[in-house]
């Protein structure tokens, strides 16, 4: 990779008998958004905590913006922002007081810290709530405050640890827009998430983590291409399902079909939509709906991690 701004090499982290990371390697290109996906307990947060200097790796090395996260933690801290599950604001303080405090901890000076707090509150639509204690904020407002608290100095790398977990769709959309704006300014973002659509929306590159290791690393498009196209059919009569599945599998199947009632979904190779319709028609099978689509990231993820969906 050209000019990586985040580099992790062979990271291991043990907590007692638990091995949270087992040789994690990761590079993030400057100015890109890297989405880190993984089931609960895969090691996403541990990786972020190490890169953000909150925890030391048991083995391995990592650097951010060219500085070692263990030996040059102070330099790293000057250049990063951290928001999401691993970080919080002071709920007794107002939004404005929080931002001023973080500005002063970045040694901006009293006046600059004040200005910066006002700018951020205005830009991210929190000016009206700025003088209310953060404890009175809605979930979405609090996350937004949490996000802008990590922007008090323009960070070179922004770590977002599950920034929208538990938010309603509208608040998620607001956070996403804020992240897009930052990326447009050239900020590098490393984002962990349980929501695959979030990664799909925001990330240029995806690293899938499982059991403390990166098991896949590619763009969302190429990850999806790996498991091919899917053909979804809704049949008029569920009794035709098995016959239709057999027919289509022989014609263009690339894996096991999923059957559920009148619905049929199967990974396919070279086949066009009219060909699929003609094939069914010729066999006298009536279909209500036939569609050819790319797999969702969920399907890619489940295939890669090979786990039932509930554990995601």
């Amino acid at each position: 990779m050209e000019d990586p701004i985040v580099v992790a090499e062979g990271l291991h982290k043990r907590y007692g008998d638990t091995r949270a990371l087992r040789g994690l390697d990761l590079e993030v290109a400057k100015g890109s958004v890297c989405g880190v996906l993984g089931p609960n307990g895969a090691g996403k947060s541990t990786a972020v905590r190490i890169l953000a200097t909150l925890a030391d790796p048991t083995e391995g090395r990592a650097s951010v913006a060219g500085f070692d996260v263990v030996r040059q933690a102070g330099e790293v801290r000057r250049r990063i922002g951290l928001a999401g599950q691993s970080a919080a604001v002071d709920e007794y303080l107002t939004g404005r007081e929080n931002l001023r405090m973080f500005g002063r901890f970045h040694h901006l000076g009293r006046r600059r810290a004040r200005q910066r707090a006002d700018e951020l509150l205005e830009r991210f639509g929190l000016a009206d709530a700025a003088d209310k204690p953060a404890s009175g904020y809605s979930g979405g407002m609090r996350r937004r405050l949490d996000l802008i608290a990590s922007l008090v100095v323009d960070p070179e790398v922004l770590f977002l640890d599950e920034p929208t977990t538990g938010l309603d769709p509208r608040s998620r959309g607001e956070i996403w827009q804020a992240v897009r704006d930052l990326v447009a300014q050239g900020t590098t973002v490393l984002l962990t998430t349980q929501y695959l659509d979030e990664a799909d929306q925001l990330a240029d590159d995806i690293a899938v983590i499982d059991h403390g290791r990166v098991i896949a690393r590619d763009t969302p498009d190429r990850l999806k291409a790996q498991i091919g196209t899917r053909l979804d059919v809704v049949l008029a009569d569920p009794a035709d399902a098995v016959r239709a599945a057999g027919l289509l599998t022989v014609r263009a199947g690339r894996g096991e079909p999923d059957l559920s009632g009148e619905r049929l979904s199967l990974p396919v190779g070279e086949i066009t939509l009219p060909e699929a319709v003609r094939e069914l028609d010729a066999a006298g099978i009536a279909a209500v709906d036939v569609s050819l689509r790319r797999p969702t990231l969920d399907e890619v993820f489940l295939k890669l991690t090979d786990r039932p969906k509930e554990t995601v």
Partner: protein
């Protein structure tokens, strides 16, 4: 900005944060001011009606240094709770991800606690004067007594900060709260130690709370039981030594626990 001025600036910012928090939670200060009133009524009049001071004397004069000791000892809980709350809610992790001087957090907490502790002491002193307690030895020893209390509060505060960092969870600290009261009771604060069984008496006489309370009785000229144990024969020196020892142990432990990155 050089390292020292930056460290001072960080400490001040942290201190300012605690002051703002206190403004948002005036209830805490009200409780700190009401506590002494309640204690005087409870111990001075309820229990005091049945307690006889050795060598005669007013029980409330005997009691006041004990109550001072008790209020000073609340530093352990107050600091442990404030620190554990920060650690448990992720505020501390955000602070640790910022280029903040390592010791700014614990030092800011310690300074803020001293500042909030002083009004509590003043309230207790005023209530004491109302119910007939007097410093009899003059201004200089009385000031020395208050200085000693502040020193001890700081020392116990560092113990509390360390406990909060180790427990990392406000609920755990809360669960330990009932244990703190007996620690102040196992002393000469409320009753003379003479009547206690020998093993308990030794425990009480070597309790740092006892040293502080005995020192206050000496400096305020309030009635006291004759001292037999070594720390109570030289209570001022014993209190200073206890405080310095607590600071020497728990200040580095607290800073280390804050900086430690194995979480």
């Amino acid at each position: 900005m050089n390292t020292l001025t930056r460290a001072l600036a960080d400490g001040l910012t942290m201190f300012g944060r605690h002051l703002t928090q206190l403004r948002r939670r005036p209830g805490e200060l009200v409780a700190a001011l009401l506590f002494p009133v309640l204690m005087i009524v409870m111990f001075g009049y309820v229990f005091g009606s049945a307690i006889r001071v050795p060598g005669g004397g007013n029980y409330r004069e005997y009691l006041m240094p004990g109550l001072f000791g008790m209020v000073i000892f609340t530093a352990v809980m107050a600091n442990a709770l404030a620190t554990a709350t920060d650690a448990g809610r992720g505020v501390m992790d955000r602070l640790r991800s910022l280029p903040v001087t390592r010791w700014a957090m614990p030092f800011g907490q310690s300074a803020a606690d001293l500042l909030t502790g002083i009004p509590g002491l003043a309230a207790l002193a005023v209530c004491g004067l109302v119910v007939g307690w007097r410093p009899h030895e003059g201004a200089a020893p009385a000031l020395a007594a208050f200085a000693l209390m502040i020193l001890m509060r700081m020392a116990l505060g560092w113990l509390g900060i360390w406990l909060g960092l180790v427990m990392k969870d406000e609920k755990t600290v809360d669960a330990f709260a009932p244990i703190f009261l007996p620690v102040t009771m196992l002393s000469n604060a409320f009753v003379p130690t003479e009547g206690m069984p020998a093993w308990l008496r030794v425990l009480c006489e070597w309790n740092p709370v006892s040293s502080l309370v005995a020192a206050l009785r000496e400096l305020f000229g309030n009635p006291a039981a004759p001292a037999t144990a070594l720390p109570l024969q030289h209570p001022v020196a014993a209190t200073v030594l206890w405080s310095l020892a607590l600071i020497a142990v728990f200040m580095p432990l607290a800073v280390h626990a804050y900086t430690h990155r194995n979480r």
